[in-house]
């Protein structure tokens, strides 16, 4: 004596494999997008920490003779810096200190008076405040032509901005993939409703509540989404590990590192569950909508 698990036998539907594959592909794409976003996020944090410390502003070099005249320009830059929000302090390095730095290379007393030496201003930033360096650079150059912030800071600042755009794109991909999953589940549920309409009508007529019918669809699509999602996630893990191996050979300053050990990547494990929840809600709503049309 055996009783079938469900009347609709949706697991025999030909759409099952295709939907499993599509959900798997979506979870794969979402996993890569999430990994990319998280990696970029970690890198941004590191870069931001660097930016938070201090900056150096450089003024065009002057000879010993012009040093007195340059003092005014240095003072202008320092006061501009001090007026800038986020700047905790600005200190011009005395010419003497600069000379002693150079003497290490050129030898004591070997620096001619007519050698132009740039003025350097050491800027301390307030912790936790981000400064628009491009804007600051423009303002300084207006006050004192030739004043510029050391390249490192500017490039990092631009990279951080790029990283934020990459993160936004990753988020957009994840959302798009989610919407596509909703569309797929809606489509396949409608197909199932059409394919089994006689059975559904009969169940309805002999007193099945909407829940009873919806449950069979939900159980089916959740199962398919979970299996497809887990396979997609495994494929993504393979890809990430592969990329990590290739990336491990690159040794560049602050190059983003990929590692599945990153605790943030635990978020990836929820992707098949997210796919299952999307499938559950979508199927339930689709079936409820269709059953509302029955008498």
């Amino acid at each position: 004596m055996s009783l079938a698990r469900s009347e609709l036998q949706l697991h025999r539907d030909p759409t099952r494999r295709m939907v499993g594959f599509l959900i798997g592909a979506m979870v794969y794409l979402a996993a890569l997008a999430v990994t990319g976003g998280l990696m970029v996020g970690t890198t941004i944090n590191r870069w931001s920490d660097d930016l938070r410390g201090n900056l150096t502003v450089q003024l065009p070099g002057v000879t010993a003779a012009g040093a007195a005249e340059a003092t005014g320009r240095i003072d202008t830059v320092v006061s501009t810096l001090l007026e800038t929000q986020g700047v905790a302090g600005a200190r011009a390095l005395p010419r003497r200190e600069l000379l002693s730095l150079l003497e290490r290379w050129l030898g004591r007393g070997n620096i001619p008076d007519d050698l132009p030496i740039p003025a350097l201003i050491d800027v301390t930033l307030e912790p936790g405040v981000r400064i628009d360096l491009d804007d600051l650079q423009r303002r300084l150059a207006r006050e004192v032509p030739g004043a510029r912030i050391s390249d490192n800071g500017i490039v990092l600042d631009r990279l951080v901005r790029l990283a934020h755009s990459v993160q936004a794109a990753a988020l957009a991909i994840v959302l798009l993939v989610g919407l596509a999953a909703v569309a797929i589940i809606t489509f396949v549920t409608r197909a199932g409703l059409a394919m089994h309409h006689e059975t559904i009508e009969l169940l309805h007529l002999i007193g099945a509540r909407n829940n009873y019918i919806a449950r069979q669809f939900v159980r089916h699509v959740v199962g398919v989404a979970l299996v497809g999602g887990i396979l997609g996630l495994l494929a993504a893990a393979g890809t990430i590990l592969g990329l990590a191996r290739v990336a491990a050979d690159i040794d560049v300053f602050r190059w983003p590192t990929i590692s599945l050990a990153d605790p943030q990547l635990v978020a990836l494990l929820t992707l098949p569950l997210v796919a299952a929840v999307i499938a559950m809600v979508t199927a339930r709503l689709t079936v409820a909508g269709a059953l509302r049309r029955l008498p």
């Binding site: 079938a4 009347e7 009969l202 007529l205 002999i206 007193g207 099945a208 509540r209 008498p295």
Partner: protein, 253 residues
């Protein structure tokens, strides 16, 4: 087969009451014009009329597969024309239907088909198994529990369909041409089954255009013609107005 009769306070006073019910399908002519009648608990009726008179439509209204275009329908003392959707499944479970085309699910075994109403009602697995195999044995299908409908003869399919209609101990049993695919002898067997159910209080309506069946058994008749319904008592019984509580005569069986 034990159908234990539980006769306490009646659950309801009226099983079915139609008040000036009309039905037309979209853009079509009126199928039913102005139909009024009442079925009391424990009554047993034939529903007759020429083909196309609307017998199936009338049954559909009774098993809540169709809403009337006008008039009021009361089932088990509840106005179903005004009932909320979520209350309908509960009412449908009190109704057993033998569809003209059986409507068995071909991918399920005879046993699973008959078990459907119990599963839907949330019965326990062990309960289902005991009841279903007992009932299938009673309709003579103990050898075909695991057979799927496509392998069954029409007569066997019909018995599966009947078993499914009665497994939930319905208060109202509706059968659409239940003897259409079988010979008179088998037809009478089927009727005897319905009679058993009727004896324990189930209200039965059998739609048929088979005059030989109607003339064999003396039962009150709901006669449909040109969208209207009239109630006819068998020749020897006392005629009543619109409402009947007929006990079927066993003389013909």
């Amino acid at each position: 087969m034990r159908f234990c009769a539980t006769r306490g306070a009646p659950e309801f006073v009226l099983v079915v009451r139609f008040e000036h019910v009309g039905l037309r399908y979209e853009n079509g002519p009126n199928v039913l014009d102005d139909v009024s009648f009442t079925l009391e608990p424990g009554s047993f009726h034939f529903l007759t009329g020429p083909s196309g008179a609307g017998k199936t439509s009338l049954l559909k209204l009774m098993y809540l597969a169709q809403r009337p275009t006008k008039g009021r329908i009361v089932m088990f003392d509840r106005d179903v024309t005004a009932a909320k959707r979520r209350d309908l499944p509960g009412l449908r479970r009190r109704i057993g239907v033998v569809f003209q085309d059986f409507r068995l699910l071909n991918h399920l075994t005879a046993l699973e088909n008959v078990a459907l109403p119990l599963r839907i009602a949330g019965a326990k697995r062990r309960q289902i198994e005991a009841h279903v195999s007992e009932l299938l044995a009673w309709v003579g299908l103990s050898g075909q529990l695991e057979a799927k409908p496509p392998t069954l003869s029409d007569g066997e399919k019909q018995r599966v369909a009947i078993a499914r209609a009665v497994i939930g101990r319905p208060r109202l049993l509706l059968a659409d041409e239940p003897t259409g695919n079988i010979d008179l002898d088998q037809g009478l067997r089927v009727l005897r089954l319905f009679e058993e159910l009727n004896k324990i209080g189930t209200t039965v309506v059998i739609a048929t255009h088979d005059r030989s069946l109607v003339s064999t058994i003396r039962l009150p008749e709901l006669r449909l013609a040109e969208g209207r319904l009239t109630v006819h008592q068998p020749a020897r019984a006392q005629p009543t107005e619109g409402s009947t509580r007929a006990v079927p005569s066993r003389g013909g069986l």
